[in-house]
């Protein structure tokens, strides 16, 4: 029975619920913008990692190397697009 019970997944599920509750703090309490954003970003990253590794089984795939590479590439493109746009259109724009 113990082997059949997916303890890891149940724990993971509870943990992901907890993370969502923690993220709610940013809205429920009157926090400063920086503090709220920090909480959101941290919980979001942990949440994404949890989903990816525990529930989407990235590690267990035979071609996990390809998947990691793919995730890395996606992160690269996404971050470059977002921060590059901010850089080109906001921070580095002459006409303010």
């Amino acid at each position: 029975m113990k082997q059949l019970f997916p303890a890891q997944h149940v724990m993971g599920f509870l943990f992901s619920l907890l993370l969502s509750l923690v993220a709610l703090v940013a809205v429920l309490f009157d926090l400063s913008f920086a503090a709220g954003m920090t909480i959101l970003v941290v919980t979001a990253l942990v949440q994404a990692g949890l989903q990816l590794f525990l529930f989407m089984h990235v590690k267990e795939n035979a071609e996990s190397k390809t998947l990691y590479l793919n995730i890395l590439y996606a992160l690269f493109v996404g971050l470059v697009t977002i921060f590059g746009t901010l850089f080109a259109m906001r921070w580095g724009y002459m006409v303010k």
């Binding site: 071609e63 390809t66 590439y73 996606a74 690269f76 493109v77 470059v80 697009t81 590059g84 746009t85 850089f87 080109a88 259109m89 580095g92 724009y93 002459m94 006409v95």
Partner: protein, 649 residues
């Protein structure tokens, strides 16, 4: 809306176009009925999921679009050939350069490349089809309905007229009130979804369906280039999808993302457009590099020099392609820091590209070169493309770009990379793989004749534009006065354009001539080539390979020929193949009508066709289709027939 707003009126050329469209769209069904070909067309082509046939349809559509874009080009050159010309008015000229750009990039270069990809990739990796054959048909029909929707704009409603990059605020409802730019947003959206699906499809195909033994580093270079291209497609096209959706929202639903009122940011469109647009130019150039690699090593009779460095430089180009986009708008208000960063990343692209150029030169070194038509295009590509590359580095310097920006110098530069890069490559690939698909070769004499016309006329057409640009002629101006002195060089360019036209007419005549007179019964490997597609019969049977080949090295087919060992041994087994389906073309048609009604903001019919689209998806979800098997007897019969042996029974 009144009927005279619905149809474009008042232009004799447009009336002529309308008449010809009506004549053609009547002639095709009449001919099909007369020759009793409806059934043949439906079962063999329109419903096919065979990657080779889908590839052929892509290339046919691309040739059709090459004609459309070419007519636009000739009209532009004719209009600017002499000062103060009145052939076209300003509005008409704006529409023509806009559709020329969109058609040539998205409906000619892309489908031509994707067509060659479709024909060649499964054969080159020893697979029997792509990973998702049905999805492949959906991709084609989405592209096709997008292309058709875009093309009817010039008789119904009016063409987009804000340039192929459709910059805001010009493209906003305020400054472009006709439905033209709605066509742009919706048609590109539909075709773009098709391209995105192709990207996923080929990514999976190449990663999952290679013949046993073919590791990544034993793949032919064209397969490598297509793999990297599809990675770029998958990551770049979503940006276009979002940008076009925002454009549609702005133009038709009253939002203010890019419009100038209420805090919209017009430059954000240019930014998003080029976040997609710059990777897009690598999407059309990398497969071209792959094609040249195949052709050059085949006709130099040598293995490709620097295989690993070729792969590394393509990966480097794919990453760099995402970090250079702001060089398209250096002059639009960035600070020094932004321009410097994007200058450096842009110039860095010259390094991996240079590595590739040298690899091709070293592949040629001491090779036994045979000057076939595909090889001539590949050889011409190297020096001409280098001119394009060097002028690209000139444009990459942000401070110097203030001089070149939006002049004919820029126009000359991108034609110097896109034509010898992409167009020469797809024509070379077309000549190269034609016998594989159809079982007979294109005429070499006519092929070489058209090559010389195209290669020389290309330079006559576009080199003068460098000088015109430096003399101050800006792009997209529909006329100029005699005192500017632009007349003679523009006339020279017009002469070149006529030469290019003759070259393409010879190319088309070559297809006609070869279909009629070219000898059949050629060998399966007429070029004595190196990769797996040449190890099966020409024309390729439905199942590609009766026995799946086993690969132990790069150019396995070449070494198998040298050593006289077959690549595949064993007994035939029944082959599992996908079934044809009419669903993709129905879905494409639904998308076409949905798009058409969206363009005109006729919501009720748009919703109806939206429901039809969802219906086709739902039908597919519940459809049970397990494909069919080709029996061993049928394989034996086909193989014997293709080897030219008599039937036993």
């Amino acid at each position: 809306m009144k009927w005279d707003e619905f149809f474009v009126t008042g232009e004799p050329m447009i009336y002529a176009a309308m008449v010809s469209i009506v004549v053609v769209s009547l002639a095709i069904p009449i001919a099909l009925t007369y020759f009793k070909k409806w059934n043949w067309l439906w079962t063999n082509w329109l419903t096919t999921v065979d990657h080779k046939k889908i590839g052929v349809m892509y290339i046919l559509a691309a040739l059709l679009m090459l004609f459309r874009g070419g007519v636009d080009a000739i009209l532009m050159r004719a209009q600017t050939a002499v000062p103060d010309n009145g052939l076209l008015d300003g509005q008409h000229y704006n529409e023509i350069f806009t559709t020329h750009g969109v058609v040539m990039i998205l409906f000619m270069a892309m489908p031509f490349i994707i067509g060659l990809m479709n024909v060649v990739i499964p054969l080159q990796i020893g697979a029997r089809d792509v990973a998702f054959p049905r999805l492949n048909a959906v991709s084609f029909w989405l592209f096709f309905s997008g292309a058709m929707l875009f093309n009817i704009s010039f008789v119904i409603g009016g063409s987009p007229d804000a340039g192929w990059s459709a910059y805001f605020p010009l493209a906003s409802l305020e400054f472009s009130p006709t439905v033209g730019n709605n066509y742009y947003a919706i048609a590109l959206q539909i075709a773009g979804i098709g391209t995105l699906l192709t990207g996923i499809n080929f990514l999976v195909t190449i990663l999952k369906m290679r013949a046993p033994g073919m590791t990544l580093m034993k793949m032919p270079m064209f397969t490598w280039s297509v793999l990297i291209t599809n990675v770029i497609i998958v990551f770049a096209f979503p940006v276009l999808t979002v940008a076009l959706a925002l454009m549609t929202l702005d133009r038709q639903f009253g939002t203010q993302f890019f419009a100038m009122q209420s805090g919209g940011m017009d430059m954000l469109w240019a930014n998003l457009f080029w976040v997609w647009g710059h990777p897009e130019v690598y999407i059309v150039i990398l497969p071209a590099f792959g094609i040249y690699s195949e052709i050059i090593s085949t006709f130099a009779r040598k293995n490709l020099y620097g295989y690993k460095s070729m792969v590394v430089s393509m990966v480097a180009i794919s990453l760099l392609s995402f970090v250079v986009w702001a060089h398209h708008f250096y002059t639009m208000g960035h600070g020094v820091m932004v321009n410097s960063v994007f200058s450096i990343t842009t110039m860095a692209i010259a390094i991996p590209t240079g590595v590739k150029i040298f690899n091709w030169l070293f592949t040629l070194r001491k090779g036994k070169i045979s000057f076939t038509t595909p090889m001539l295009y590949s050889l011409a590509f190297i020096p001409i493309f280098t001119i394009g590359g060097v002028t690209g580095v000139m444009l990459a310097m942000a401070s110097a770009d203030y001089q070149y920006h939006n002049t004919m110098f820029l126009v000359a530069h991108f034609h110097y990379v896109l034509i010898p890069g992409t167009v020469f490559a797809v024509i070379a690939g077309f000549h190269f793989w034609f016998p594989k698909v159809f079982g007979f070769m294109l005429n070499e004499k006519l092929g070489k004749l058209s090559f010389w016309f195209i290669a020389i006329s290309f330079n006559v057409t576009f080199f003068p534009l460098f000088i015109l640009g430096l003399n101050g002629m800006t792009r997209r101006m529909y006329t100029y006065s005699e005192s500017t002195g632009y007349g003679p060089l523009n006339m020279l360019s017009m002469v070149g354009a006529v030469g290019l036209t003759i070259g393409f007419i010879i190319l088309v005549y070559n297809i006609y001539w070869s279909v009629r007179y070219s000898p059949r019964n050629i060998k399966s490997d007429p070029w004595d080539a190196r990769s797996l597609e040449w190890s099966t019969h020409s024309p390729v049977p439905e199942y590609n390979f009766a026995l799946i080949p086993t690969v132990n090295r790069l150019d396995a087919h070449w070494f198998a020929k040298k050593e006289g060992k077959p690549l595949a041994t064993g007994k035939y087994e029944p082959i599992h193949m996908p079934n044809n389906s009419g669903l993709p073309i129905i879905m494409g048609a639904a998308f076409f009508f949905w798009g058409f009604f969206m363009v005109f903001s006729w919501w009720i019919p748009a919703i109806v066709f939206g429901v039809v689209i969802l219906g086709t998806l739902a039908y597919r979800t519940f459809e049970k289709d397990h494909g069919h098997y080709i029996s061993v007897e049928e394989i034996e019969r086909t193989e014997k027939a293709l080897r030219g042996e008599q039937h036993e029974n």
